[in-house]
Amino acid sequence: MVYTKKSPALFIIGLVMLLWGWLNASGNIDGLQQYFQKSAYSDHMKVKEKFDAEFRVATEMAAAESKPAPDMKMPHSKFDDAKAFQSKMCFIFGGVATLLGLLVMVWTPKEGNLDYYLSIFPGMAYMLMIAFLVRWGLDPMFANWGKAAQPTLGWNFASIFNLNYVVLGIVIGIVIVNVFKIPDWAANGVRTARFFLKTGVILLGALYSATELAQLGAISVLMIGVFVLGSIGVVLYMGRRMNTGNSMTAVLASGVGVCGVSAAVAAAPVVNAKAAEIAYTIGTILVWGVGCMFLFPTVGHLLGMGPVQFGAWAGTGILNSAQVAGAALAFDPHGIETLKVAEIFNITRVLFLPIVVLWLATWYVKHEVGAEKVDLGKVLFAKFPVFVLGFILMFALSTMGAFTPSGHYQGKYFSSEQIKEDKLLKGKETKAVEAELVRLKEAAGTKQLQDFFTEKAINIGQRHATPEDAHKGLAELIANKKMTTRDQERLLKAVGKMKGLDAVTANAIDKASKAAYHSSKTIGAFRDWLAWLFSIGLIGLGMQITMAALKQAGGTPLIIGGVVGTAKAVGSLIVVLLFIKEFI
């Protein structure tokens, strides 16, 4: 049988990509791109204003000295970079697709490997083109709509409902398969979706580092571990009792236990989950998370919870990252402590992913094999998903500092030594900090600091921050003109948010704080690759979710997800109220 279908589709997709690349490169669609790339465009306008002013001065100086007008070029803005990136991607992939499309049209391959692997390109290009549409069009468009509706609604619907490339990719895939069906020429290529998802999961390991655990106390790690592993145990038990099917149960367990969408995607290939089962899990997590996001802040206020307590509860009890952040901000819109604690708890759940995947792999193999007495070790060796080892390998490499300084937190790391000369505090700023330090050392200033630290539960390590810590930190900032330690930076950053603080001092602290953190370009590149791999994989995944498959899965996953989610929320609330005080 010959798999490669004679169709002009790949050639046309290639031409469409090349056209988009050309439109970007020539500037013909700048108006449209200004709408999609709003923040990059505002950066562009700032760069342009600065350049125009410099050019005017240089031209005037040249005219005064009777010299010709200077030859100056405007530096690249983020907007230029974004357009150049789109052009580059479209030219590379569009060019390849056009050439292969011509080959598919004019050449009839013989039956064999070459024919089979050639047949996957039209489908891959199809998924890539939709990924372009989602990442460059739908994702920023929903983000813009969410922001625009925020003043009226009081919350950002795009962020709360996770309307980013992950969800939009799956949804568009579902729409395509159910409304238009997958065309014959694309069928084989769509089957590469799982390969891209697996590669993405391996690279996911590079984003995290075990040093993140160091930010938490032993009680918190224990609490997260108990709830993650406990919820998984309960879902597995309930799934067996309710005959939900092994793969459905396992993927739901990962989603409900760890942290939502990425965990469900990571566990899916391990247990041979069907696309509809992943869709059910993601649906359960999102619906449940949105309900929690509205309910948690109200309960938190009714029970008089502190910022650390609420952050710990939201970070443990709510299943999805965006909704954890939403609940933390709804509880304390002006504070940073709640959000920070909630995010640390939330991220730490991901660190349990390797353990969870190993557990689910063992559980699945054991239950699939069923009553037959087999050597579990042998079966595991034969069936164990090798890509999970890849995730663990990347995680280990990231922890050891192979990609960026080992102490990084989601790709950001503190380094006093790397602060550039022009980022040091200027004379006017150090003088303002000096004057503010004198004021804060007086009785009224010291009381102001003490009250602020108590109200916001600001800590250094495992103890309360004191006004003397702030005095020392500010004195060191004046002496060094920069932040020198992570503790100093964290404390002063909190002080910078104190009401009644001199505006120049607050700005100086903010500037020094930002200067001390460096974003790892390597981790940024990993994140970009991951986003593309997941985009393509999830679109392909969506294309495998038919209405018939959803009906077949039934409503039991929603019931199990709801019961376990409620138990987790109530259980973590009790533990937080009993054991988590002000320290994390």
Binding site: T199, V386, F387, G390, L397, T522
Partner: protein
């Protein structure tokens, strides 16, 4: 070549076995990681 060589039923993969797909994705991921470290640096 028989049709079965590539047909995977509902598991939807182009590879003849999960192990081969896993190893393929592992190699692809390592190539990306090496490429990032070489091009972007640390």
């Amino acid at each position: 070549m028989s049709e079965q060589k590539f047909e995977r039923g509902t598991s939807l993969s182009i590879f003849v076995s999960d192990r081969r797909e896993d190893i393929g994705s592992l190699i692809f991921a390592l190539l990306i990681a090496i490429g990032i470290v070489l091009v972007v640096g640390k």
